[in-house]
Structures are given as C-alpha cells and as structure tokens.
Symmetry: C2
Subunit: 254 residues, 2 copies
C-alpha cells in the first residue's frame, strides 16, 4: 500500500470517524449500535473498537472493562425508555394508577423490542444502574400513588418480576416445528401437543412452543395488575374498618 493510498483512506473513512474524539458516551452508543446490528455475541471489545476505527486497547482509557460497557448499554436502554414514556415523574396520588403503570410498562416494552438483546442482558446484570434505578423508582411511585402500602408494593415488585421492564422470558421456539411430526410429538408430550393443535388452529401463525406476542404479554400483565388491584381494595377495606371511631387518618397506607 503506497503512502498516497493510505493518505486517501485516512482522509475519508478513518479520519472522519475520529474527528470527534472517543468518549465513554461514544463508546456506549457504538456498543448499542453493534448489538442492534450484529447481535450481542458480536459485541466484543475488539469488534467494538473496530467499529469506532480505533485499536481495542483505546477503549480501556474510557471504560474500565467489558462489564462496565454492558452495564452502560443497559442504562442507555433505560434512558431511551425515559424518553419513550415522557419522563419518570409520578403524581402524588392517582386513582388511575393501574392504567398509568400499564402504559409505562408497555412503553418500556416497545423499547425492549427495539433492542432484542436487552432483556437477557438486563437479567444478567447484578446491581441497578442509575437510570434503571430511577425507572424502578417510578414504578414504586406509581403503585404508591394508587394508595398501596409499601408492604404490598414490595410484594408487587416481586410478582411483576421482569414483566415490570416490559418483557417476560420465553423459551425459544421448537425448531422441529414441522407439521408432520406433530403425531410424533404427541407421543412424548401429549398434553402439550393437544394444546398446540388447538392454539395453532386458532392462530396458524403461532409458533410451536412459546411465543412472546403482545397479547400474551398483556394477558399476564393484566392478570397480575388485577390481582394487585383486588388486594389494594382489601387493604382499603381493612383501613376503613380500623378507623371507624374518628376522622380519617393522615395517611391510611401502611
């Protein structure tokens, strides 16, 4: 390669990319892009550096290690959620808390669907990144605005699990989902095969095994939210019964 060719190359691709210097911010954005484009397995330190037109070791100046990159892109996803749902603020009290929470979670879900690698990655992280923590905080706040006790809220957070982030983990589709071997399948797993036959009849597009379509997500979410609303009503009853004697307590919750 002659000196002239190298100069040409430098002035176009490489140099253009490096006009803006590297930064934590730019590294993380590139990491999200790479994961979106090529999958989370393709997100290696070396390939990430390449996508930034830089040597692998340069990244370590801006980021301590790969774990920090993974934590960082999870937090970026939650920043995107914050934009999607119009911020994380919650009203003091809200009779429509049930709907508000539903809308917030479905907003988070839309973002998760844009970044298919995010759910598994989020599950694997230990510890809450700052924006993730503020999202969780807004869920607690929304439940509180509906008048639930902190105790019930605590249970609610566990009951929701990953569903509060807009996804539920799914088993992959069975790849041997040819139509012919349904008989063979029935021999090993008769009940499952029978269910699939019915479900498939109703919806020919559904895949064998599990699927994570919007309807199923909302069914499960509503099952939990409705159960929580019922328990909240029970709490309200109990409060009313306790305070028969005098005026309304300052805060009947917890």
């Amino acid at each position: 390669m002659t000196r002239g060719r190298r100069a040409t190359m430098t002035s176009t691709t490489q140099q253009a990319r490096r006009r803006t210097p590297l930064s934590r911010e730019r590294v993380l954005r590139a990491a999200v892009d790479l994961a979106d484009t090529a999958g989370i397995d393709a997100l290696t330190v070396r390939r990430l550096a390449e996508s930034l037109g830089v040597e692998a070791m340069s990244l370590y100046y801006h980021v301590p290690n790969k774990e920090a990159i993974l934590d960082g892109i999870v937090d970026l996803v939650f920043t995107e959620i914050e934009g999607e749902v119009g911020g994380f603020q919650v009203p003091e009290t809200d009779a429509a808390w049930h709907d508000a929470l539903r809308v917030r979670i479905l907003g988070a879900r839309r973002v998760m669907l844009r970044h298919p690698w995010a759910p598994a990655l989020l599950d694997s992280r230990t510890g809450l990144a700052p924006t993730t923590a503020r999202y969780v905080d807004s869920v607690v706040g929304t439940l509180r605005s509906g008048g639930l006790s902190y105790d019930l809220i605590h249970h609610a957070m566990h009951a929701l699990g990953s569903r509060m982030f807009g996804f539920s983990q799914e088993l992959g589709e069975d790849d041997d989902s040819g139509d012919a071997d349904l008989a063979q399948l029935a021999a090993m797993v008769p009940h499952l095969a029978a269910m699939l036959a019915v479900v498939r009849h109703d919806d020919p597009d559904s895949t064998l095994g599990w699927c994570d379509d919007q309807y199923e997500f909302e069914f499960g979410l509503d099952l939990i939210l409705d159960g929580l609303a019922r328990k909240r009503a029970l709490e309200a009853q109990a409060d009313a019964a306790t305070s028969t004697a005098g005026t309304a307590a300052e805060d009947p919750r917890d």
Copy 2:
C-alpha cells in the same frame, strides 16, 4: 518427573477416575458437579475435561460441542425435578389442580435452588430438551385436569413464564447497601428508598433491591394461580349458560 512418580500418580488419582470409560452421561454429570462447585463460568470445556482426568479434545468424542453440554445439563436438572416430584404423570381430572400445580412448581423450585446456575442457563437455551418438554407437558396436563380450555391454558403458560419452573428472575442486590447512604439513595430514588425503609424495618435481614425468598415467590405464584382459577370459573359459567337446553356436553372445555 521420573517414571516411577508418574506410575504412582497414575495408579491412584488418574487411573481410578478413568477406570469407568468416558460417556455422554459421565461428561454431563461432571459438568453439573463443576457448575455446582465452581460456578457456571468455570464450566469450560478444558476445565471440565481436567475434572474428568482427560484431555479437552476427548470430550468431543462423546458430545458434539459445548452447546450440547449446556442443553444436556439443563435436561439433567429436569430429570432431578422428575425425581423430586415423584414423576410427571397427571390424573385425567382433578378438582385440586390448583394445589397439584402449586406443589409441582414448588418441587421444581427446590431443585433449582440446588443448582443456582440453572435458571439463567434455562433462560438462555432455545428449544426444549426432552425432559424439559415432559415437565412442561405435565404442567399443561395439570391445568387440563382442572378443566381449563386449551386457550386459557396457553395464556396461563405465558402468564406463568419462568415461574412455572420454580424461579423468577431477580435483579441482584445493590452492593452499596450500607445503612448510612440511605439518605443519599433517597435523593435519587425517593419512592424506592421509602419502600426499602419500610420493608427493612419489617424484616431487617432483607437486602436492598430485590430478593428471591420463598415468600415472595409464593406470593407471585398464588397471584397468578388465583387469577387463573377465577378465569376458569368464568369459563365454567359460560359453558353452563350455553348448554342450558340439554344434557351435559361430552367435554365442555374449549
């Protein structure tokens, strides 16, 4: 190392281990042991081979690749569950389906708690290994024994999600869980901090963030099972209304 020493070593450790020849079975059992003992990250092909007193490449004679090992140990876990719950058979009809399912799932949970790496690994697998499929089949069968329609069962499977295997994914505990910085925490995530203060007051042993204790798991499980029971009752009502005219239908379900 002299010839004599090598001979001694061979007659004790190495040889004893290799008296029984390698097999898929033995490889998988060793893999579970290694994951249990040293963590799932320590489960590399090379270390696994070492634990069997064999060269890494020898494993490839019994198993096609690492993915197959991971699929295999997940299936081994479900074989263990099968033993734990006394088999996967289900009665034709069962008025106590609710309890039966609960007991089965809590049995699965006990096994999962013995193999802390299993939940994350199961989540990462695509496709159902044979024993896993039979477990899922038994869950479908139990719901069917309770008279739920296949449609409702399908929704139920999605609603349960990983909870049907006895776990729900959790965020790791916040490591900055010192008591002092709760004020600092309150500034960033006020609602979360308030909830934790109450929950912690009630149960000083609880950790910051999420925790996966038995109570919370059962709370969430029961919330879903109760919701399903309610929906099943609605289906029964609808069936009764439809068949006002004549005798009982052969199978009122679906």
